[in-house]
């Protein structure tokens, strides 16, 4: 019997360097790099009439000051990722603005100096003259289009997309009951504790550009830099080293710094780095979450959904560098785990003079979940039914899979749920939540969600057994804390019959693996995890073929276990994996460590070349996993007893239960960490974190003193239950889990507060002040 690591609570292999403070984050790379600092727009909308950098250039220690005029790509629009036919008026910014700035924080100049301190001094000396223009700041204002963000974009309308399955108008008219709701979600920010950073070095003699970037997609950055700088891709290496949290906004192509730091390094012939400070992170890094939804729903007297119409506007910010993925995801995910016989959704993505939006953990799904769950709660209230009962009556059943929802998905295909058991999620959660605890102003919160995870197109992995028996594995996707070095090691260890700690995993380093897409959309475990399994299986097959010759047995009779390739049922007959690695790499020289068995003068199993025909040297293999069109659909249910303090309106979770299903679980310890952490971010998004823009487009709370993220005192211990419905779409049967914890929290908290206080909740985020106002209005 061989040990199986898949499914075990393996303690993390990457922990020690973090605990000792010896991790390598981008700002740690150092090597006497010059340091950069940005001059950013203080206006939300203005014409630039003059830029004078002469005083800044004269500051001792300043090496260069770049404005758009100094850049060969200064007049080029930055790329628009993921173009979509509905995005008829896509716009992206210039690397450095030179005519018009359209949000506070847009980059205008880049100063490079001997130290960050000097660079900041000099940045203050860059004189930029602005002529302020009218500002458009909320999606509602953008919709009115009294002012335009882009002069050539009528109505501020970047994109409009309509989808319909069934005939919603007819079904709404026929429905015995109808309701309308208006549901608003305000902007929020991810705020990983490591802000962004880029470090670059140009090696003139090797003609090689090396970039460290806290990105979620080093392979894309590498391709883009090669293209822009006219270099072969093989001359550019991009490494995402340890990254201090990502949550979405660290994936872009490009933020201005991702071009300017390598550009400056090539120009100046010295390493250059730029490390963002928190204040600039607040406005320079993509945000998320501004949407306003108009909902019409028709249902029967039992509370069963008949037709749903959702019309929403999405606050895209000043540009659309990330396409319209966010509203596409919202549109696709509104129906959630429920049967919606007729569904119509229209969205319009509108420009505003605020920071552009792109996915943040949940990526449009918290909005979708809020819309659906608020709607079901409204139906329950209207009919005098239990909220759980309304859900029970509308849930898809285990026999309904695969289930086609009738709308498009972010991969260009259709939304098709692969597998699940939604009623069990609800019942397990309610059972564990238990009866209402004593106390006043205590409410039940309940929300369910689905999440399309593991989106394509593909990821790959390389697995190799070194001649000392150590296994190394690499993949193109980077890591921001998800525990990839552990979970991928578990997957590889199972295939090769070794222990996880014998597998050293490298992620997000194009020097080790140059193909792949990135870490986002809860896709890493599904795509790269399965690629690891494929690669490791290929290595195992090769090990059996090579060992079979030397042991003079059929490869089918061999197994990999305990670090050996051995005969099944006769564990004494076998070769150490290290020896097979040596046999796979026939040498003229013996270096010890057992290498002598593979030198040319040693006995061979047969005459001829040392390796069997068709076999390449090295005990290694590459594997890829590309999901069939469609995602793996995870699902879950959150429920809590929530108490509201009637004097301070403080929110307290008396009990919080999550049951979730992400298919087969690789490592419950790591998974529970993802869920608990996701819930914490969801709580932040539901009750604390609000980006407070004023009508001039100034972010009034751009610091951690005023933009409040939850501390330990705000986050309860979540009771987590696993349900495993394997995905039929991949060899490991897994689904993604990275974003799941965050998705239903807003909807769940809204439901609980309504129950506790008897007020109506139609917006996110809430706050003690908001609850006070709602309660007072009700009295």
């Amino acid at each position: 019997m061989t040990t199986r690591w898949f499914g075990e609570r393996v303690l993390r292999l990457e922990d020690e360097r973090f605990l000792r403070g010896t991790g390598l984050y981008t700002d740690d790379v150092g090597e006497s790099a010059l340091e950069g600092c940005f001059v950013r727009s203080p206006y939300a909308h203005a014409r630039i009439t003059a830029i004078d950098a002469s005083a800044a250039k004269a500051v001792p220690g300043v090496v260069a000051v770049y404005t758009a005029a100094d850049l060969p790509f200064g007049k080029t629009d930055l790329p628009l990722l993921i173009p979509h036919p509905s995005l008829t008026h896509g716009r992206t910014q210039k690397c450095l603005a030179y005519e018009v700035v359209r949000y506070v924080g847009e980059a205008v100049a880049f100063v490079v100096a001997e130290s960050r301190y000097v660079a900041e001094d000099a940045a203050d000396q860059v004189l930029v003259e602005y002529e302020p223009l009218p500002v458009v700041i909320t999606p509602e204002t953008a919709e009115r289009a009294e002012q335009l963000v882009h002069a050539d974009v009528p109505g501020n309308l970047a994109a409009e997309l309509r989808q319909e399955s069934g005939d919603v108008e007819v079904e709404l008219a026929k429905a015995p009951h109808n309701l309308r709701l208006r549901l608003r979600f305000e902007r929020g920010g991810a705020h990983p504790l490591e802000a962004r950073a880029v470090w670059a070095r140009w090696h003139e003699r090797e003609g090689k550009l090396t970039v460290y970037d806290s990105t979620q997609s080093p392979t894309s950055i590498r391709g883009g830099l090669a293209m822009l700088f006219g270099l072969a891709e093989t001359s550019v290496e991009v490494i995402a080293p340890d990254v201090g949290g990502g949550f979405g906004p660290k994936i872009m192509l490009f933020y201005p710094d991702e071009l300017l730091v390598p550009f400056a390094a090539m120009q100046l012939g010295r390493p250059v780095k730029w490390t963002e400070d928190r204040r600039e992170h607040f406005t320079a890094v993509n945000q998320e979450r501004g949407q306003v939804h108009e909902v019409r729903v028709g249902y029967d007297r039992d509370g069963r959904l008949l037709a749903l119409d959702v019309d929403f506007i999405h606050d895209a910010g000043a540009y659309t560098p990330y396409g319209i993925i966010l509203p596409i995801i919202t549109a696709a995910q509104v129906p959630g785990p429920y049967r919606v016989p007729s569904y119509r959704v229209r969205f319009r993505a509108l420009y505003t003079n605020a920071t552009p939006t792109s996915p943040y953990r949940g990526a449009g799904r918290p909005h979708a979940c809020f819309v659906m769950e608020r709607t079901l709660d409204a139906i329950a209230r209207d009919l005098g039914l239990e909220r759980a009962e309304v859900r029970r009556r509308n849930l898809l059943q285990p026999g309904d899979f695969p289930h086609e929802v009738g709308v498009g998905w972010q991969d260009g295909g259709r939304v098709v749920y692969d597998s699940g058991n939604y009623p069990a999620l609800l019942e397990t959660t309610l059972k564990h939540l238990g009866p209402k605890p004593p106390g006043e102003h205590v409410g039940l919160g309940l929300a369910m969600y689905v999440e399309g995870t593991g989106v394509g197109p593909y990821e790959g992995a390389h697995v190799q057994v070194l001649v000392n028996g150590q296994v190394v594995a690499s993949t193109g996707i980077p890591t921001q804390g998800q525990g990839h070095q552990t979970v991928f090691a578990q997957v590889v260890a199972d295939e090769l019959g070794v222990r996880p700690e014998q597998v050293a995993v490298t992620t997000g380093d194009t020097r080790r693996f140059q193909w792949g897409v990135g870490t986002f959309a809860s896709r890493a475990a599904v795509t790269a995890g399965n690629a690891m399994a494929v690669a490791a299986r290929n290595v195992a097959l090769k090990a059996r073929r090579i060992a079979a010759e030397h042991l003079e047995v059929d490869p089918e009779d061999l197994e990999l276990a305990d670090g050996m390739v051995r005969v099944k049922g006769a564990p004494d007959r076998g070769l150490p994996l290290a020896a097979v690695a040596i046999l796979s790499n026939p040498l003229r020289y013996a270096f010890g460590g057992g290498a002598e068995i593979a030198t040319p003068f040693q006995a061979r199993p047969r005459p001829g070349p040392p390796l069997p025909e068709g076999e390449a040297p090295g005990l290694e293999a590459t594997g890829y996993y590309s999901p069939p069109l469609g995602s793996t659909w995870a699902a879950g249910c959150h429920a809590a007893w929530v108490a509201i303090d009637p004097d301070t309106y403080r929110l307290r979770f008396l009990k919080y239960v999550v049951t979730h299903d992400c298919g087969r679980v690789i490592n419950p310890l790591v998974l529970e960490g993802q869920i608990q952490g996701g819930v914490a971010q969801g709580i932040g998004g539901a009750f604390y974190e609000r980006l407070a823009y004023d009508s001039d487009g100034q972010l009034r709370n751009a610091s951690f003193m005023e933009f409040l993220m939850p501390y330990a005192t705000e986050v309860p211990e979540v009771e987590i239950h696993h349900q495993e419905t394997p995905s039929p779409l991949n060899p490991l049967g897994i689904k993604g889990a990275g974003e799941a914890g965050t998705i239903p929290v807003g909807a769940m908290v809204a439901s609980a507060i309504e129950d506790a206080l008897g007020v109506r909740i139609t917006e996110m985020p809430l706050s003690p002040l908001k609850l006070f106002e709602l309660s007072r209005a009700r009295c």
């Binding site: 990502g246 330990a712 005192t713």
Partner: protein, 150 residues
């Protein structure tokens, strides 16, 4: 001279250098992380004479007559300190960026309350932000560290 992790080191090259930048960039002790530079997140926590302080809110020259301990000095190169071990056992870290600050904050907490109550734990770590873990595992790690240190 400034005493850092038990070793006398040359003082900062500039009087305006923050203690956080001094240990990171002049001493190369990059385990001290900078998350907000305004004293809220706690990532830059170091021990000053055994008490947790925010190194982003201090000038390096102010540390002159004090003993500074950074994360690198907690266990040296030997076995992990019990607090570090507890964080590992309880999966109390994910991306690792806030971790050195938490570990040193907990060192300060346990020095004051060797057997902290739940409230004392919440209080002891409520000056540090973590965006990954959701804190539950960190609370457990503090309890485990208290057990390990006896």
């Amino acid at each position: 001279m400034i005493r850092v992790n038990g070793v006398e080191r040359p003082g900062p090259t500039s009087v305006r250098l923050l203690l956080s930048d001094y240990v990171r960039h002049e001493l190369g002790l990059t385990g001290t992380h900078v998350g907000c530079e305004h004293g809220v997140c706690g990532c830059c926590t170091v021990l000053l004479d055994g008490r947790p302080v925010r190194s982003c809110l201090m000038l390096a020259v102010q540390a002159g007559r004090h003993e500074v301990t950074t994360i690198e000095g907690l266990a040296g190169e030997g076995e992990l300190h019990p607090i570090q071990r507890a964080f590992h056992e309880c999966h109390a870290l994910q991306c690792g960026f806030c971790t050195p600050g938490f570990v040193l904050a907990v060192a300060g907490l346990l020095a004051k309350h060797p057997h902290p109550s739940e409230t004392e734990i919440d209080e002891g770590i409520s000056g540090n932000l973590c965006r990954c873990t959701g804190y539950a595992s960190i609370r457990r790690a503090v309890q485990r560290a208290a057990e390990l240190t006896g």
